[in-house]
């Protein structure tokens, strides 16, 4: 590795680490009992951002008018379209396909493959994605993928764990599909060549995760999502499916009379030209909203996670659910500042890493569901038992060396290479030193409501013809809180189902659909009545991290390409 070596913790933090080292032996066999449902509820209600008064408000427009959701999402839904209907020429169709898949992560790739397996010709499928194919939260999922396949486990148990973790707010038929398809998905991935962690006899080495009652996390070291993504992407390319990169969808198209979805307007971010896509079926697989930085939190999400899918779906009448909840991953990086907000995989806790406050005490069972653990960390910091970094952030210790202490020297290097690398790049050796952690915005629990075969539903429960959705953009699978290892499963289970459903719909359809932006015109009337300022536009496509100093001096003299 030809990079520079950095110095690690500053002396004042090293000093604070001593208490972690001094208490390690006595914490070794210590059992922290799990909380009752009532205790969980109390903790979460007091400390989790979902229950803070100032984080949410009712949305004032559209199918879910009056529903209370996160402010940043409400602002997006109350936004003018990025493209005015008059600015695009719908008489000139650039791509005329059977299936348009919007998004470039695991759900999109799974949908494409299963549409091909179901008989749709690859050249009649178009994947349109904002960044590169594979630039998605999928590649950042480290810990694993759940599937109840060991003899002491069952899909019924997986169902119970998932629905309990989700505060019983999940949509039951979606959870059923999730858990019943899971072993099948593992076999599919195995057949494609995913390098799962296995014993010499082929038995999967399975780990436990927060909120799971059995060890059912299938992993590929701590690169599980990357490994799954690169394998299925490779297969999509092998099949010859068309992929348009740097071309996010900015609006859906609809039949002017029936409201059925019939394609989308894409925007090439490099040359800034638009393309009109007509499609018999459109699949939304645009992922989540981390880059909106809800409640001011940093995020683990990839650069393009800006909730485009829910914005576009809402304008065609989709029902949104559970957007009053967001998942804050308990263990984001609190130090070093340069990578603040990045993920420290839950697998660290699965392997035995302990959370320790400034006094060297444990304060929560590390394998409680994510919202519970996150709330406990926020509490420790708010009540003065956190550690303050040189940049003024607060966090608690995650005692990673405990893993090697319990499971033997070499466990960290073998099982957590990505984590080791992430910190050693900043001079911190996680086999010897704990890391400082604080919750970070991680996952969009809610989203577009779908049925088990991924049809997008309206508030009255009827499907919007021509529109399917899968993955993080949807809501209902995880209720108000997702369990570790259920997101990689979600994207593959429902991506697959979307591909199969799309193929079926294509076969049933004769003739070409009609395209218009009539639904947008209608939505604009509502925006006008509401008095939304015209400069508020969505989808926003990318966050803006430019420095204030340069923005104050910004002049757009000519239109430059961003290379």
């Amino acid at each position: 590795m030809m990079g520079l070596v950095y110095e690690g913790y500053p002396p004042e933090m090293r000093e604070k680490i001593r208490v972690v080292e001094e208490t390690r032996e006595e914490r070794l066999g210590q059992q922290i009992p799990k909380l009752s449902l009532e205790e969980r509820e109390k903790l979460v209600r007091k400390w989790h951002p979902d229950y803070r008064e100032d984080t949410k408000r009712p949305v004032r427009i559209g199918p879910n008018k009056g529903q209370v959701i996160y402010r940043e999402v409400a602002d997006l839904l109350e936004s003018w379209p990025a493209v005015k209907p008059g600015d695009v020429d719908l008489d000139n169709i650039d791509y005329d396909v059977d299936i348009l898949i919007i998004g470039g992560g695991g759900a999109a790739a799974s949908a494409a493959l299963w549409a091909v397996y179901s008989g749709v010709s690859p050249e009649n499928i178009l994947i349109a994605t904002k960044l590169r194919f594979g630039d998605a939260n999928t590649v950042k999922a480290q810990g694993g993928i759940q599937a109840a396949d060991r003899p002491n486990d069952s899909p019924v148990r997986h169902y119970l764990d998932t629905i309990g973790g989700g505060h019983f707010a999940n949509k039951p038929e979606l959870v059923r599909a999730l858990v019943m398809d899971a072993p099948f998905i593992i076999r599919w991935l195995e057949d494609l060549g995913v390098m799962f962690d296995k014993t010499g006899e082929g038995e999967m080495i399975e780990y436990t995760g927060g909120g799971a009652s059995r060890r059912r996390l299938h992993a590929a070291k701590d690169y599980t999502g990357l490994e799954i993504m690169r394998v299925i992407r490779d297969e999509v390319w092998n099949k010859g499916v068309n992929v348009l990169e740097f071309s996010p969808a900015v609006e859906l198209l609809t039949d002017p009379d029936t409201g059925a979805v019939s394609g989308a307007v894409l925007w090439n971010m490099e040359v800034k030209a638009y393309y009109v896509v007509r499609a018999k079926v459109t699949i939304l697989a645009t992922g989540g909203f981390g880059r909106l930085h809800l409640a001011g939190f940093p995020t683990t999400n990839h650069y393009g996670a800006t909730a485009d899918g829910i914005v576009m779906a809402y304008r065609v009448g989709a029902n949104l659910r559970d957007l009053d909840s967001a998942q804050f991953h308990p263990t984001g990086v609190a130090w070093p500042e340069a990578i603040r907000g990045e993920l420290i995989t839950e697998k660290c806790r699965s392997l035995g890493a302990q959370l320790v406050n400034a006094n060297g005490e444990r304060f929560i069972n590390e394998l409680e569901p994510r919202d519970v653990v996150a709330s406990a960390i926020i509490r420790e910091c708010a009540e003065g038992r956190g550690i303050i970094t040189p940049t003024g952030a607060c966090g608690v210790w995650l005692d990673l060396p405990m893993i090697d202490r319990v499971r033997g020297e070499g466990t960290i290097r073998r099982n957590l290479p990505a984590m080791y690398r992430q910190f050693i790049r900043h001079g911190i050796d996680i086999t010897r030193e704990p890391v400082l952690t604080y919750p970070t915005l991680h996952y969009q629990n809610g989203g577009i409501e779908i049925d088990p075969w991924t049809h997008v539903l309206r508030p009255d429960g009827t499907p919007i013809p021509g529109l399917l959705a899968a993955g993080e953009v949807t809501g209902g699978v995880h209720g108000k809180n997702r369990l570790m290892g259920n997101s990689l499963l979600d994207i593959t289970v429902f991506g697959r189902r979307a591909g199969i459903t799309a193929a079926k719909l294509v076969k049933e359809m004769s003739g070409k659909p009609r395209i218009s932006l009539k639904h947008v015109e209608r939505y604009m009337e509502e925006l006008k009545r509401l008095g939304v300022p015209e400069n508020r536009r969505a989808p926003v496509l990318l966050p803006d991290y430019r420095g204030e100093r340069v923005l104050l001096r910004k002049l757009d003299l000519i239109d430059l390409a961003p290379i």
């Binding site: 019983f168 195995e190 995913v194 390319w237 092998n238």
Partner: protein, 244 residues
Amino acid sequence: MSSKESPETGPRPVSGKEEGGKTIRIYVMGRAYEVPEGLTILKALEYAGFRLTRGVGCRGGFCGACAVMYRMPGEYKLRTALACQTLARDGMHLVFIPYAPMKKPRYDIEKLRPDAGSVIAIFPEVTRCLACNACTKACPQGLQVMDAIQAIIRGDIAAAANLAFDCIGCGLCSIRCPAEIRHVYVFQLVRRLYGKYMLPKAKHVEERIKEIEAGKYDEEMEKLMKLSLEELKRLYMSRDIEKA
């Protein structure tokens, strides 16, 4: 010596000083920018005013979109890094390498065998490896890239797949390689061959699928879905938990 080679020369704008915090100067393709100390290269560029589309992806070291090459003042060494994982340093001269030009060949994985012949038939350039180790030196993941290529030539697909497992596909090795090997795609093929044909299949997964297909869990599932919220909560809290 031109101003590009020394951070000590060249004009500093009067307004360039940060209030309070210490600043450093980085050279983005030769052009100097003053940025606060302690930022990653990626965040430093953004601070300086770049709003990127290329050269940024997951921002967490998993996607390989933000490969950079740089030199430090006074060094001949050409260093590599991921911009999202590496601190900007005073005097750093850098360039983004957001893409390594290479087309992925298509193949049918079902028709291949897990041996060197299959790989070399698709990527004949693998045999041109000079063992110069430039690839290994370029890898921001610190992988033994050359060893993985040599393992393929020896026919050891398992070793190659494992050596290349942590590859994030940035392509820096392929840009430095005098044999013009497309490492990213070579390694993808090797890993799939190993995962598909050489790792033993999980029998317990197969068993469970049979049970599900035979409807073993349907009745219990139906029952669970019909439970009242109170009953469901009770069942949830009373479930036994396997030891981690």
